[in-house]
Every structure is written in C-alpha cells, then in structure tokens.
C-alpha cells in the first residue's frame, strides 16, 4: 500500500494529477500574489518531476517506463507510457511552463484585471496539465480527453487578452471553431481505429493494425488515417490549416503567447508522432500511404509562405506568430523524411524552438509591458533603452535564423543532413536553408529599428523591463545558446527518440 505514496514509481501519473488538483485549488488562493505563487509552485514541482522522470527513462533497461493507472491491466485500464521521446517533450513543456510562470507575474498584473488573477492562473495550470497529460499517456482515447482539457483552457487564456484588445475575443472564437473541428476529426479517427482494432491502447492498436491482413485497403483504416491527419494538422497549425494561430498569438496576453508558442503546437506535433509512427507505423504512414509527400509539401509551402508573410508584419507578436508556423514547418518537414536524422532534427527542433520562441515572445511581452505596444515603429532606438530585452530578442532571432552556436543551427544541421540522406528529398534541404534566409529578413528589420534608428516620442523615455521579466527571458535565451554550443545531450536524446520511433515499438 505504501507504494502508492512514493514519488519515483508514481512519476508518470504525478505530472498529471499534481497540476490537475493544483489547478483547481488555485482559485482559492485569494486576490494578491497568491495565485501566481501557487502556480509557480505547482509548475516548479511538475518540472522537478519531469527531470526525475527523464533520469528514470534514461536508466530504464527497456528504454521506457510503463505505468498502469489504478493497477488495471492495459487491456482494460489506461496505460501511461514514457520513453525517450515523451520524456523529452515532457521536460520541454514543463520546463518552459515553469519559466513562463515566473515571467507571467508582472506581465499579467499589467494586462489582466486584478480580480481575475485567480481564475487566470487556475486555467493556466490546467492548460499545462492537459498538455502534459497528452504527452504522457499511452492510451488513444485518453489523448482526446486531455486534448479537450488543454484546448478549452487555451481558448479561455487567449480570450483573457480582451482587456488589452477586444480582438482577443474573435481570435479565441476562431481558434475555438477551428480547434473543435480538428478535435472532432481526431475523435472520429480514434473511434474508427477502435472499431477496427477493438482497443484504445496505442501499443495494442499498433500490433492489431499490423496483424490486419489488408490494412492498406481497409476503408475504415484509411478514413481513420485521413481524419487523423487533417485533425492533427489543424492542432499543430500545419500550413494551410494554421489560420487560427497568428491572430490568437497576437492578441493573447503576452505570457500566454509565450506559453502557447512553446508548448501547445509542440504537443500537437507529439500527437502526430504517436499516431503516424507508433500506431500506424512507418510502413503504413510513409510507404503504403503518401503521408510524407503531403506533409513535406505542406511544410515546405508553409515555411516559404509564412516566412514571406512574417517579413511584411509590423507588429512583433504577429511577426513571431507567423514565424512560428514556419518553424513548425521545419519540424513537420523533418519527420516527413522518415529517416533517423530527419526525425531527430524534428524532435530536437521541438525543444530548440520552444526555448527560442518562448524567449522571443517574452521579449515582445517586455516591450508591451513598457510601451503598451510592440510594433516596429515603437521599438526604434530601443537597443539603448532596453538593452537586455533587445539583446535577448536579437539572440533569439539569430536562433530562428539558425546562426551557428545557437540552438536553431543544431536543428538545421540535423534536418539538412536528413534531407540529403533521404532519396530525392534534397529540395527539403534547400527549403530549410532558404527559410532561414527569410528569418534573417524579418529578424533584421527589428535589429535595424532597435539599433540604428532614432527613438521617437515616449519610446525615448522608457527603461529596461523589471528583473522578474528579464531573468526568465534570459533563462530561455541562455538555454537556446547553451544547447547551441553543446548539443550533446539534446542530440543524443533526439537520436534515441528517432531510432525508437522508426523502429516501431517506442
């Protein structure tokens, strides 16, 4: 019985239950700094759990940890299953959530009315709970349940930006409609798979699909595959299903933009990994079905189109949002290559992009905090007024470009290597490289404005953002530089995750 109260064996379930219960309790934390402090505590605790979990997975002989909820065997109950891939994603999501929560205090104080802070942080923690839950579970229906938790909370978080700009409400509504369509497709897909296989456990689904005599011509399986592909595409904002994203990230509260850009779409991509590689398997998704063609064409088009669109934006948050869609294109283009280096590049870019873009949105948020807006005009000459924030922005921007010794370069290296190794996929390498030039174009407009133009109006008087914003920003930007100089840890984890995904069993 005592076993139930130990931390180590129960880690997989703790990363979900702690924020679930903690999130609800946040409401009771009063009106002052209580909710924020509580949320920080919960996310910090969860981050600690994911670090422990990562150690456990690395030490496990089988390469994964299986946890049966309530000790029900997996045929009937829910199995949580953690391997190198989702341990890494869990670590990323929990880590960025923790740092973003640290950052949120000042920003939220300014952007959201005091009397709603407890609700805000409650929803915030629940969103993190949903995202972590999707990542930890090994049960297809459980994925859907937790997807709904994360989606509903995220719609609410975006709508909280309404006090800054009423457009946040329409942005949230648009995401609600498109996100619900996507979620319904995913639910239908899971339902069809259940019809064919009679199970909801991902591993069993895979085994039974593989045992199916003629899966490639089974209409139910095909429809499920198509529904899931579109539904997941919507959730991970794959071009051209990304229409909800730019507006949502632009008008959401600054801290929310930072959180979402680093975690929400990443978890969508994680789901795609699980469905395409673990459940359907490489043979079905990328050999029998032309998923790699569909995905790499969409991803490459996305990289180029959104890159060009980002160059034309004047609002920094919107520019970063379009850049996010392009960067997600890198991740999708990587795993569509279906070889080790491509998939590893994809996995490592989930982490790298999370820290870079999280840091960048924090920098944009710090500018919002001081100036109340963040367009190219208002940041003129800000390099001298807010040196730390603007330096963070430049360092993060260089990461998006993929300059050497930034995390983005590591991703680019793996992706190009993967593209050159796959037969006839060298255009993907070309698109990845051209995409980084587009990133130079949009990053450099900020550099020019901040460092080489004279400030005007109130911008000439602002001072650096408070330390409680600058420090978390630099934690993420510093991480993006550190993992650009020394990517042995992230590189090895990603290679391990890629090998297990391609090998079939996680």
């Amino acid at each position: 019985m005592l076993e139930a109260f130990e931390i180590i064996p129960n880690l997989p379930v703790l990363v979900v239950t702690v924020p679930l219960i903690g999130g609800v309790l946040t409401i009771a934390m009063g009106r002052g700094k209580g909710p924020w402090a509580w949320a920080t505590l919960i996310t910090g605790l969860v981050f600690y759990f994911t670090v422990l979990l990562m150690q456990q997975v690395l030490a496990a002989k089988t390469g994964y940890i299986s946890y049966e909820l309530g000790n029900w065997p997996r045929q009937w109950g829910i199995e949580y299953r953690v391997d190198a891939l989702n341990a890494f994603i869990l670590l990323t999501v929990a880590g960025v959530s923790f740092v973003t929560t640290l950052y949120a205090q000042k920003s939220v104080e300014k952007e959201i009315p005091q009397d709603r802070h407890n609700f805000f942080y409650a929803v915030w923690v629940l969103a993190v709970c949903g995202l972590l839950g999707i990542t930890v579970t090994g049960d297809a229906f459980n994925v859907y349940v937790l997807l709904e938790i994360s989606s509903l909370t995220v719609y609410a978080l975006i709508a909280m930006g309404k006090d800054l700009n009423r457009q946040a409400l329409t942005a949230s509504l648009r995401y609600l409609i498109l996100g619900s369509v996507g979620a319904s497709f995913i639910l239908l897909g899971i339902g069809y798979l259940l019809m064919v296989t009679g199970t909801l456990n991902m591993e069993d689904m895979h085994d039974r699909l593989a045992a199916l005599p003629d899966a490639v011509h089974n209409r139910t399986v095909l429809v499920a595959f198509a529904l899931l592909l579109v539904g997941l595409g919507m959730k991970m904002a794959l071009f051209p299903l990304h229409m909800w994203l730019p507006k949502a990230y632009t008008y959401a509260p600054s801290a929310v933009s930072a959180l979402l850009s680093a975690t929400a779409t990443k978890v969508g991509i994680y789901m795609a990994f699980r469905f395409l590689f673990t459940i359907f398997g490489v043979g079905f998704s990328f050999v029998a079905m032309p998923a790699h063609v569909v995905l790499s064409v969409a991803a490459c088009a996305g990289i180029l189109v959104t890159g060009v669109t980002a160059v034309r934006q004047t609002n920094l948050k919107r520019m970063l949002a379009y850049s996010s869609v392009g960067q997600l294109g890198y991740i999708v283009a990587g795993f569509a290559l279906a070889n080790v280096h491509g998939v590893a590049g994809s996995v490592i870019h989930i982490f790298n992009h999370a820290v870079m873009k999280g840091g960048l949105f924090m920098a944009a948020g710090a500018i919002m905090y001081r100036l109340g807006r963040c367009d190219l005009r208002s940041i003129r000459g800000l390099g001298k007024r807010m040196p730390l924030t603007m330096a963070a922005f430049v360092a993060g921007g260089l990461g998006l470009v993929g300059f050497p010794l930034t995390a983005g370069f590591i991703s680019k290296w793996y992706l190009v290597q993967g593209a050159l190794e796959a037969p006839h996929m060298w255009p993907v390498a070309a698109v990845v490289l051209v995409g980084s030039l587009l990133a130079v174009a949009y990053t450099w407009r900020v550099v020019e404005a901040a460092y080489f133009q004279e400030p005007e109006g109130e911008s000439a008087l602002v001072t650096e953002a408070p330390l409680s914003m600058v420090a978390p920003m630099w934690i993420l930007i510093g991480a993006s530089v550190y993992f650009g100089v020394s990517a042995t840890f992230t590189g090895e984890i990603s290679m391990r995750a890629a090998k297990s995904l391609l090998g079939g069993a996680p």
């Binding site: 993929g402 290597q417 051209v434 020019e448 080489f452 020394s486």
Partner: protein
C-alpha cells in the same frame, strides 16, 4: 560538453573578447577606452607571434597529424568546436593581428577627427570581429571555420551600418544579405554534404578528406564537382563575381573599417577560406586528378579583369579601391586554382602582400576625408602639396598594387608568374599582364592629379596646419555632431597625427616587405611542404 583552456590559439580568441568587454565598460572614458584597445591589440600580437616559431620548425608536419586539436566544445555528438594551428592560418593571424595595432591608432585619429557617434560600439564590434578572425585563422575543422566565418559577418554588420543613415542601413542590408545567402545556401550545404559523404570527417588535413569516399565510389566525380562549386560560391567573402557586390556596399562604413576589415581581415578571411578548403579539404592533387577545379581559373581571371575595368570608371575613391580589392582577391583565387605547390605559395604570399599596400591606400583615403572632406577622385587636384605624407604613402600603395619593386606586391607577383610558367598556363599570364596595365591605369592618374595638377583657384587659401585644432576637442562619443557633416572647408594640411603615423607605418611596411619577407615566405613554403 564545454572545455575551458588557455592555450595560445584560444588566448588569441579570448584576448580580443576580453578586450571587447573592457572597452564596453570603459565606454565613458574615451582615453581609457582607446588605451584598452591598443593594449588588447598589443597583447594579441604578442600571443600570435609567440606561436610562429613552432609552425616554422622543420619537423612541423611530422608531428602535425599526431598532434591533438585544441577542443573547445562538443557541439553535436562527435562534432567539436576545435582549433589547430597550421602555417596558412598563422600567416593570416599575424597579418590581421599586426595591422590591428596600426589600425587602432588610425581609428583614434579618424573617429575623433570626424566626430563619429557610437564610438564605444564601434571599438567593441571591432574587437569582436578580430576575435572572429582569430577563430577563423586557427579553426581545426570545417565546422569551426563556418562558425567563425558567420561570426565575422555578424560582428562586422554593425560596423557597416555604423552611421545609421538610410544609405548606411541599405548598404549594410546588401552586405549582410549577400554574405548570409551565399554562406547559408551554398557553404553550409557544402559542409553538411562533406559531413554526409565522408561519414562525419571534417578535420583539415593536407591532401583533403575525400580520398576514401572517392575511392570507394560513394562520392561520384560530378557530385565532387558540385561540392567544389558550392564551396567556391559559398565563400562570398572571397568576392568572386557575381557575388562581389557586398564589398563596394561595405564602403559606406567609416574608413578604418574599410581599411582593416574590407581590405584585410574580412576579404582575406574569404580568400583564406578558399585556399584552406582547396589545400586541406579537397587537396590540390585530388582536384587535378578529377579535373573539377579548372573552371575556377577562368571565373577568377574574368573577375580580375572586369573588376579592374569597373574600378577604372569609379570617381569615388573608396569605391575605386573596393573594386581594386575585388580584383586583387581573385589573384589569390587564380593562384590557388592553378593547383601546383608553387602557386599555392604564391596565393598565400599574395594574402600577405596585398594587405600592406591596400590598407595604406585606404588609410590615405580616410586621411583625405578627415582633413579635406573630399571623397571623389576628381576633387583631388593638387592635394599632394597640402598632404605630402598621405599622398606619398598613397603612391607607395599604388606601386604595390601594380606590383612594382621595391614594394610588397612585387614579391607575390614574382611567385605567381613563376607558377604560371611552371604549370604552363598562358591564360593566367595574359590576365596578370592585362591586369597590371589596368592597375596602373586606375592608380597612376590619381597620383598624377595629386602631385602635378594645380589646385583649382577657389580652393587656394593660405596653407595652415589647422588640423590639430579640430582633433581632440571632441572626445564625447555621445556628441551631437553627425559624423558625415563636413565642418571644415578650405584650409587644411595633413590629417591628425595618429592618422599620419599609422599610414606612414603601413607604407614603410609595404616597402619593408619587399626586403624582409622571410617570415611570410617561410610560412607559405611551410604550407607547400605539407602537401602530400
């Protein structure tokens, strides 16, 4: 994993980095700040020069292959950021480090004399650029080379955009755009291709890294040829036509930047990389065997002649010098492309020889701008009488460009001509002869104008040595004067003394190189003797 170490090649990177930090801290006290720059430059040269004897030792190559590289950080599993000293890099680091001292003296005169803004940022970026140059010079593998190559682009960008005018920002965009497009699209693609084909081997070694991949057929001759093209056009800093346009664009920068970076460090980084890739990645003998390098001779030859012709028609002095640089850089490339041991020596020597003459020419151009606020060649009638030292130095620089004794330019031209006879390359011979004539045609008229044409009437005002009054009274980096606004018209003598001292030194060095080129020739010969 990150290693911290203080061996000489690493010190050569750390010293300017530390210098940059101290300069930014000393920003409020200009005299202290400039002292830091000079001390940093001196310390750097001392460290770099200390490494030379080991490289010149006769048994250097015997131990080279066995000697471990200096590892800084394991960036990707198995891919290290690492340094290793070899003769070519040694030569490059010596030139850049040595000229940085003179250039710093010159910068003090120029930046103060022209009341430039943001001087602290200027000196910080300059030191960072030098740190990148040192990393580039001592890079131990292709990956490290690429890292510092990009760092050099990035750290020189603020120097090009320095003035912040619309024109400066536009030119800086061209600068960054061309250099980044070429390096990301071609050079990086080539490096990752090399990594894939050689199974992860990117270490520099004499004779190249492709021999095994070519032998076992995993790398075909056409793919080998494409890799070579990717490298040659990926190294945009070598300014091979048609990717040369960033160099004239960079002339918008303050003259010390044009002088050290866009006549020596950055552009030499380009041809240095070309030479390093040919010698240590492809291997001259391998290129000859597969016959994939011959096109480079013709492209470089065309660049030499076309750039010279364009230079002929530039009235802006700095632009004329810039096109002359484009042409001179292709001397190095054409020499390297001949692929014989002697021509490799000539290429390495020309990297050194061209540096002294060209930096003198730019110093002179900046001196004229500071004292007389003249930028166009047509305004230079009779200026030699007002600024005799500057124009005498300019003349020496011109002679070096043409390749006449007793100047540095003659030494490398001698080796290059020897190599053309040895490799039986009449095309190169013709190019060298024509280009010598063109060089004379676009440099000598300037000298003639300065010394032998009378000053236009309205400019003749009693000769005053008033420059010192202008210099030194405005040391505040935040001063509201805009650097580009001329505020002295009419009477002028020589430029402030730091400028005159610096350009006299480089002019003297241009001549001294003719008589005492043992060190450079020693390093260039050492480079050749390493070839298998």
């Amino acid at each position: 994993m990150i290693h911290l170490d203080v061996s000489p090649p690493l010190l050569a990177i750390y010293i300017p980095l530390l210098g940059a930090l101290l300069i930014s801290l000393a920003g409020r006290w200009p005299n202290l700040r400039e002292l830091v720059t000079l001390l940093t430059a001196g310390a750097l040269l001392w460290v770099v020069a200390g490494m030379a004897p080991a490289v010149l030792a006769p048994d250097f190559w015997a131990s080279f292959a066995r000697a471990p590289a200096l590892k800084i950080a394991e960036v990707l599993p198995g891919v290290w950021l690492e340094l290793k000293v070899e003769p070519l890099g040694m030569l490059f680091a010596l030139i850049a480090g040595g000229l940085w001292i003179l250039n710093s003296v010159y910068s003090i005169g120029y930046m103060r004399g022209n009341h430039e803004n943001n001087q602290t940022r200027f000196y910080v970026c300059f030191a960072l650029a030098i740190a990148s140059v040192m990393g580039l010079a001592f890079a131990g593998n292709l990956f490290t080379l690429f890292v510092f190559y990009e760092a050099l682009t990035l750290t020189t960008y603020p120097l090009v955009a320095h003035k912040g005018t619309a024109e400066a920002i536009r030119s800086a965009r061209t600068y960054l755009g061309i250099l980044v497009v070429t390096s990301v699209c071609f050079l990086l693609a080539g490096i990752i291709g090399t990594y894939v084909f050689t199974g992860g081997d990117m270490t520099f070694r004499p004779g190249g890294v492709f021999t095994r991949a070519l032998a076992d057929g995993s790398l075909t001759a056409p793919a080998f040829g494409i890799l070579f093209i990717l490298y040659m056009y990926g190294i945009g800093k070598a300014a091979l036509m048609p990717v040369h346009r960033w160099l004239p664009a960079a002339m918008v920068a303050p003259t010390p930047v044009s002088a050290l970076l866009h006549a020596v460090a950055v552009v030499k980084a380009g041809v240095f990389t070309v030479l390093k890739v040919i010698v240590y990645v492809f291997g001259p003998a391998v290129l000859v065997r597969y016959g994939v390098g011959s096109w480079l001779i013709y492209v470089a030859g065309a660049t030499i002649l076309i750039a010279s012709c364009i230079a002929l028609f530039q009235d802006n002095l700095k632009r004329r010098l810039a096109y002359s640089t484009v042409s001179q850089l292709s001397y190095v490339i054409i020499a390297a492309a001949l692929l014989s041991p002697l021509s490799i020596t000539a290429a390495a020597l020309h990297i050194a020889a061209h540096a002294f003459g060209k930096i003198t020419l730019f110093f002179a151009a900046g001196s004229i701008y500071t004292a007389a606020h003249k930028t166009e060649i047509s305004q230079l009638d009779g200026i030699g009488r007002r600024m005799p030292i500057t124009m005498a130095a300019f003349t020496i620089g011109s002679l070096s460009m043409i390749g006449l004794p007793p100047t540095a330019g003659f030494v490398s031209k001698w080796y290059l001509l020897q190599a053309t006879w040895e490799t039986d390359a009449p095309f190169v011979l013709v190019v060298v002869i024509l280009s010598t004539l063109l060089n004379a045609a676009y440099f000598l008229p300037i000298v003639y104008r300065a010394f032998f044409v009378a000053e236009p009437k309205h400019d003749v005002i009693p000769h005053l040595s008033s420059a010192d009054g202008e210099f030194g009274d405005d040391t505040d980096p935040q001063h509201s004067h805009h650097g580009h606004a001329p505020h002295v018209v009419g009477p002028h003598g020589e430029a402030p003394w730091p400028i005159v001292v610096a350009l006299s030194c480089t002019a003297a060095a241009t001549i001294a190189f003719f008589f005492y080129s043992d060190l450079a020739i020693g390093l260039a010969t050492q480079l050749r003797s390493g070839l298998p």
